[in-house]
């Protein structure tokens, strides 16, 4: 479990992270979203005891990050860009990492085999790391972070540089791990966080903007019901009827194309009303033909854009 309370970090006079409070439960994958420079990596550096917080506290499995050696033993960390020892081969790197984390020598080789299989590194164990592609280096970093079987995994942009197939594999791996461990992963790829995380938080300029499940975040920043309608017939009459029925309803756009088809966007702040049904009835009543109607859902991109002030 990861728990932070008013965690802050100053670089000189500037706040990189400001009063960040959140918790990640055991068996949960939490996504840390934010534009570049939002404070994602600094947050992770504090949780892994690379940097001490300027103020506030954080606990990993109940242990304060001040007791850094105990915390580090429990955490598996993949830093941004997955740095590894380029002059060593994959086996050499993993074996060094294992030894440093106190993996018993007797089981070290089995562990390396297990983790390299999980990360798709079989057959690459004796290749030098500087000869590997970026995707494979990312896998090496991921395998290294899990060698000592940590309770808590902190992954800074774990899938950057991977091709789409590798991305799917790594996401599945993280999902599997998330069932038994506490995982905090940062990313600015929204689809990734959407696919992998149970909950997510959005930070911007070091401050927490939103935290919750995907649906909670969408509900939080939803701007009401948005209906796209495509019809043939007297659109003005339909609009008048709808306005009569729902005063708060607004028309975002109304475009009449050459073939007599009108495209309309209706907006209403209340999502629970049956606007679609009313539109259908109104179109039929004016003798028109309804060609298409769909509700526009708020996407995670919209949420992100709104929460981070469109800085990304």
């Amino acid at each position: 479990m990861i728990q932070t309370k008013r965690l802050s970090r100053l670089y000189g006079e500037k706040h990189a992270v400001r009063e960040l409070s959140f918790h990640v439960r055991h068996g949960e994958v939490m996504g840390l979203l934010g534009p570049n420079g939002a404070g994602k990596s600094t947050t992770m550096k504090m949780l892994t005891c690379f940097l001490p917080p300027s103020s506030g506290t954080a606990r990993i499995d109940g242990i304060d990050i001040q007791q850094d050696l105990d915390v580090r033993r429990r955490v598996g960390y993949l830093p941004e860009h997955a740095p590894s020892y380029n002059d060593l081969n994959v086996h050499g790197h993993l074996s060094f990492m294992g030894r440093m984390y106190g993996v018993p020598v007797a089981t070290l080789n089995d562990k390396i085999c297990e983790m390299s299989a999980a990360c798709g590194l079989e057959g690459r164990l004796h290749q030098r790391i500087d000869e590997l592609s970026k995707g494979y280096r990312q896998r090496v970093g991921l395998a290294a972070s899990m060698l000592h079987d940590p309770d808590c995994l902190i992954l800074d942009e774990p899938t950057t540089g991977l091709d789409p197939n590798q991305m799917v594999e790594i996401r599945q791996l993280i999902r599997r791990l998330g069932e038994k461990k506490t995982v905090l992963l940062s990313s600015h790829v929204l689809s990734e966080v959407d696919a992998v995380c149970d909950r997510m938080m959005i930070i911007d300029s070091g401050e927490l903007r939103a935290l919750g499940t995907r649906d909670e975040l969408i509900a939080l920043s939803s701007s009401g019901l948005l209906l796209h309608v495509c019809m043939r017939g007297d659109a003005d009459a339909v609009v008048a009827q709808i306005h009569e029925q729902y005063e708060a309803c607004k028309i975002d756009s109304q475009v009449l194309s050459g073939d007599g088809v009108t495209k309309l966007i209706f907006r209403h702040p209340d999502e629970t009303i049956s606007l679609a049904e009313s539109i259908f009835t109104a179109v039929v009543a004016v003798g028109g033909v309804l060609l298409e109607m769909h509700a526009q859902e708020t996407s995670l991109e919209d949420v992100f854009h709104r929460m981070t002030g469109g800085t990304s």
Binding site: P79, S84, Y85
Partner: protein, 240 residues
Amino acid sequence: MNMAYSQVISLCRKEWRIVMDTPLGYVMAVAFLIVCGFFFESNLFLMGQADMRAWFSILSLLLMFFIPAMAMRMLADEKRSGTFELLATMPITTMSIVWGKYLALWLQIMVLLALTLLYPLTLSWLGDLDMGQVLASYAAAVLLASSYAAVCLYASAITRYEVVAYVLGFVMLLLVFLLSKAMPTFSPGVQDWMVLLSPLSHYQSMLRGLIRLSDVMFFITMSGVFLTLTWFELERRRWR
């Protein structure tokens, strides 16, 4: 085995593996032996005596060029490639990192010095060599190299660039050398202090075949000071 101790050994082993797996170590060893051999031979044939004092004097100069080269990537490379973040988030103290790196560097230098044992062995076969003096001189060389290694490790800790680390290490050692050469130009009071604080004057005094506790303590203290500075430099990121 104690965890911290085994981590220091693991870190040291990793450094060795990099030295053995890359041309770095071999190039350094060959270059060192060629240069050392050249000065040994020229002295031997010039003087025609079974004596190594002149060679040991030159050795202190050679260490000034070679140790910065062996130490330059130790920490600078970790910082530049980002692996320092891996190292610093492992369950290991910063002091253990410094010890692991220092031990690896020290052992590399010791291997180079051990290779030069061929020269006294040759000399003792050719003529009557004062083995006591040679052993004391080797002890002096080991101590001098140890303190130089600590200085250069510190140079490697303060920058991300290997070349800068080399230049910094070399300049620091050069300063020591130049100051001890310029010693006669200072006033007698200052000279006394300089003799006390110059590693080269302690080294020269040991080359006479006399191992004094004060000389040994000087080199150990100097190494300790620079290892502490290295530790401070690595910890500094936390206080910024």
